[in-house]
Subunit: 127 residues, 2 copies
DNA sequence: TTACACAATGTTATATTATAACAATAACTA
DNA sequence: TAGTTATTGTTATAATATAACATTGTGTAA
């Protein structure tokens, strides 16, 4: 189950090599030469890759980034920093943050093992 | 600057009265009788309302909810819990959480005053 | 007041993001 | 090797969001 299908592999490779998050239709454009011709083929692969934790969706940008953090693969507990100028996105891998959020209880005492956190600010270069 | 324009007020009222987050085209449908006929009129009002902190966008759902938390109005630092079954969304107002996230530093020592956090789980009723 | 600046509106068209529905094929498993 | 499930291919369409341009309203300062 760790083996990706053909389309999944093609699309994962593209995202994994990209220095920036990729949008679905950018991906589509880039894999058309490899025979993936329809949006749905892209979205299906993306869905699966998200499901198994190989990539994450940056919700505020409708874009996808490869996971480089073993911590989030199972938990689907993700955190990113996003530069509001250059749009650089970095996955945050902080044991302290993960721990804090995983243990956070709401007013009803409810805990949440799944979450998505997006920080916004300026990256080193843009500051 | 605290006074909303006509369209902004109409759309804010609708969102504010709604027990659940509303999507842009649901809003459009509901305000057509009040003379707001085009998507752009809705999106412009939504943009403004988000900008001034009267509403928030639930990014993972492409939906909008009224703010009931004075804390986030300035900071644009928001947190929500989302039920994965009934889609109920609740804004989280926790001084501890706000403080922790506002003071969180990434690997480069960078702090972020803007963030959006979405917790996923099951609400009381759906558990 | 009046002119200026700026915010908000109205309108048409279109771009972008995502899914429905159905048929066929490949891969895994009992 | 039949049955099951995942994956693929394809066409069409739904859902979300913005571009471009013309017009109207609103606040403010001379």
């Amino acid at each position: 189950m760790d083996n990706l299908s053909k389309n999944q592999q093609i699309i994962f490779d593209l995202i994994d090599k990209s220095p920036e998050p990729l949008k679905a239709y950018t991906i589509l454009f880039n894999v058309q030469k490899k025979g993936i011709k329809a949006p749905l083929q892209v979205y299906r692969a993306l869905d699966k890759l998200v499901e198994i934790g190989k990539i994450h969706k940056i919700e505020s940008r409708n874009a996808f980034i490869a996971c480089h953090n073993s911590r989030c693969q199972v938990a689907k507990a993700t955190a990113f920093s996003i530069c509001e100028i250059c749009e650089k996105v970095t996955e945050i891998s902080s044991a302290g943050l993960s721990k804090y959020l995983a243990n956070f209880k709401d007013k009803d005492g409810m805990k949440y093992s799944k979450y998505n956190l997006e920080f916004f600010g300026l990256c080193k270069k843009c500051r």
